[in-house]
């Protein structure tokens, strides 16, 4: 399958995002609030999956490994294909997607980017500086059908 890559970045431009970098809710006189990379990774993964047209997250190897680790109960599907860098007030996200064949890759990528920014800002209160989307595969309906077994 030919790799199609739409690597693009979205800069924070809304007033809400601009103010969130000026006054951080993370550090107050009563204590600091820390949000771990795991949380941002999960939120980004869940947000990406919410978008119609996204079939799965992660490359072939990571999905195979993810399926194996989930089977033994140590993996989490929601964080595969997501890589984040989290700073004190900002986060940058890299996503690897498998998109349904027939969907517009630029449109799905943009919707994913918007949803990821919305969810991370809403839940984590972090300003998202960029969301890089890599589409590394297409999914065709019927791909997941199991081959017929010889024994009935």
């Amino acid at each position: 399958m030919a790799d199609e890559t739409t690597a693009a970045s979205t800069r924070a431009t809304t007033p809400a995002r601009a103010t969130s970098t000026e006054a951080s809710p993370l550090r107050t006189e009563h204590g600091t609030t820390t949000i771990s990379d795991t949380v941002v990774t999960k939120v980004a993964g869940i947000a990406a999956r919410e978008v119609p047209g996204v079939y799965a997250l992660g490359g072939g190897a990571s999905r195979a490994l993810g399926a194996m680790t989930q089977r033994v109960g140590i993996g989490d599907e929601r964080s595969q294909g997501v890589s984040v860098e989290v700073g004190e007030r900002e986060a940058a996200v890299d996503l690897t997607l498998v998109i349904e064949y027939g969907e517009s890759i630029p449109q799905v990528s943009n919707r994913v980017r918007e949803n990821v920014i919305k969810r991370i800002e809403g839940i984590c209160g972090l300003s998202v500086t960029e969301v890089n989307v890599t589409v590394n595969d297409l999914h065709f309906a019927g791909d997941e059908e199991l081959p017929e077994t010889r024994v009935q």
Binding site: G31, T33, S36
Partner: protein, 128 residues
């Protein structure tokens, strides 16, 4: 700071063993945090180091450390639902402050640091 403080032992003639302010604050903080809607559980970390030993029991996901000014800084490591986390952190701080004030430990409570270590998608999902 009082050594061997115990709210239960504050009454005259009590024989309940005294407990340090640090332990009482750790207990109160964890109980208050877990009572907050949106908090699913606490997280002691992979090696279980974010734990306060309370006699034979363990208080996972909370530490209390004395500060140079004599107060105790409390750190909470929490697992939350998918809700806005900063308002949740403020609610937890308010609950901890209220619990400390009720126990007569408002002056001993320093900053309450809150770290969200994980989130769960489903309301019924167990803490990770």
């Amino acid at each position: 700071m009082q050594e061997g403080f115990s709210p239960a032992a504050a009454g005259a003639g009590s024989t309940v063993p005294a407990v340090s302010e640090r332990l009482v604050l750790a207990r109160l903080a964890l109980a208050a945090a877990l009572s907050a809607p949106g908090v699913v559980g606490s997280d002691a970390g992979r090696l279980g180091t974010r734990t306060t030993l309370d006699g034979l029991a363990r208080l996972p996901g909370v530490t209390a450390v004395v500060l140079p000014d004599g107060r105790y800084g409390v750190s909470l490591y929490l697992v939350a639902r998918l809700v806005p986390l900063h308002p949740l952190a403020e609610r937890v701080r308010a609950l901890v402050a209220r619990a400390a004030a009720t126990a007569g430990l408002a002056a001993a409570l320093g900053p309450v640091d809150i770290a969200f270590e994980n989130v769960v998608e489903n309301a019924g999902a167990p803490p990770v």
